[in-house]
Amino acid sequence: MLDLREIFLFKKHKYIVIDTEACNLNLVSRDNLPWQISWIECKGEEILSEHDYFPFWKNLKVSKGAAIVTHFDYYDYKKKAIDPSIVLDDLIKYIENPEYFIVWHRGIGYDMQILRNFYEMCGREFPSESILSRNIDTNCLSKAYIEEIAIPQNEDFLTWQYKLDNLIKKGLKTNIKRMCELLGIPYNENAHNAFHDIDMCKEIFIKLIYKLS
């Protein structure tokens, strides 16, 4: 079983906190591509590097709903957008590096698929098993915290996260805003901008490590 304290408190491992903004919520569509990918490289509480990219897709179709929630502005996007292969080359250095844990909010249920589409669109095979084995989903940790479910000692950490991901209960809200309220973290009103979300996700992760350990 993974000891979360090892990552943060004892600073044994580096980790990245990553988030994506994509076109819609259809996870089976291969056209659902990330138009923003942001991540920070961390060790303990310290941020070692920051990365904020806008991969350029010619036929990007952001749904109305997603555009409203994420404040998507096509002209702003077009100004900042760069060749997706440059983004992927940088991302691979971190996400495929076994030294890094991958921290994200709803990574299992959402970002994994978006990154898979990103990899496929760039003509690369997505290393899902490797990524999953190092993944720490703060959405799952949040559910464990709210439902007072202890981290089991004899169970695989990934399987335990899947159980939490599939835990759906009326009134059980674990979005970033709710978790910031619960954990006393200042909520950035620019939420659903991947670069701002990762900061809050990191704070949620750190607080939850203390609470769950």
Binding site: N24, V28, S63, L167
Partner: protein, 256 residues
């Protein structure tokens, strides 16, 4: 991975498949839904394994298969729940597949399924299932929604007594769902030296590009008067992340 069994479901399994059982000789246009029999013809397959959610397709499939020398293996999905009354409130039930071993098995299957479809909550208890069981039936544990699936990926702890049944078989699939490998490991661990494992591919549409048609159908079937309307951009269907439940994927995986 070799010898992956293609297991079809037809449109009679409402909400699950968009494939029909139309006779290919009667299809006059390329448009519209694909027929399972056309697919079998194209792929030169002389065996049809049909696994349905009900038994409405048995006569239609039997007639065509008999006329065209296709071996038909017919099965249905049923649900079992052995939890206490309190736990039943959440209606969590696990799925089993039951196949007919022979011609008599079809009649036994019909008898069993009639009893199942009369159940108010649409699930058997283990005892009820045993009551209708005969040696002409074969029990198969599916890859998804089985008791192993729920025990592995949810906090449910389901127990199902397998010793009563002869030659129980477990299905394993690879549909590129992120948790497939976790589940596969669990099935292999559970079955080690005890139960047979078969590699299969569930087929609900013809090609990967048919996923939008399939998703549209799923959305239409799960529509509700209440709540947020479902759309292709926000389908709201759990774990719907794979377009691999098709004959195209079966062909790719069979080549490997």
């Amino acid at each position: 991975m070799n010898n992956i069994l293609p297991i079809f479901s037809s449109h009679y399994s409402v909400g699950r498949s968009i494939l029909t059982l139309e006779d290919p000789s009667k299809i006059k246009t390329d448009e519209g839904p694909d027929s399972i029999f056309s697919i079998l013809k194209e792929e030169n397959v002389n065996q049809l394994i049909l696994l349905e959610d009900n038994m409405r397709s048995d006569i239609e499939s039997f007639r065509y298969c008999e006329k065209n020398n296709i071996q038909l293996i017919y099965g249905v999905r049923v649900y079992v729940n052995d939890l206490s009354f309190e736990a039943k409130k959440d209606l969590r039930k696990h799925r089993l597949c039951i196949f007919a071993r022979n011609s008599q098995g079809i009649f036994d299957l019909r008898k069993l399924f009639n009893a199942f479809s009369l159940k108010e909550d649409l699930f058997f208890t283990s005892d009820e299932l045993k009551k209708y069981w005969t040696d002409n039936l074969k029990l198969v544990i599916p890859f998804y929604d089985s008791f192993l699936f729920y025990n592995t990926l949810t906090f449910t702890n389901m127990i199902f007594e397998l010793d009563f049944y002869k030659d129980v078989e477990f299905f394993v699939e690879n549909n590129h769902l992120e948790f497939d490998f976790i589940l596969k490991n669990m099935v292999e661990k559970f079955c080690k030296n005890k139960y047979l494992i078969s590699n299969i591919k569930s087929i609900y549409y013809k090609n990967k590009e048919d996923i939008d048609a399939y998703l549209t159908y799923k959305i239409a079937c799960s529509r509700s008067l209440y709540g947020k309307p479902k759309t292709l951009e926000e389908p709201g269907i759990d774990n719907f992340t794979s377009n691999e439940f098709c004959i195209e994927s079966w062909k790719e995986q069979n080549k490997c």
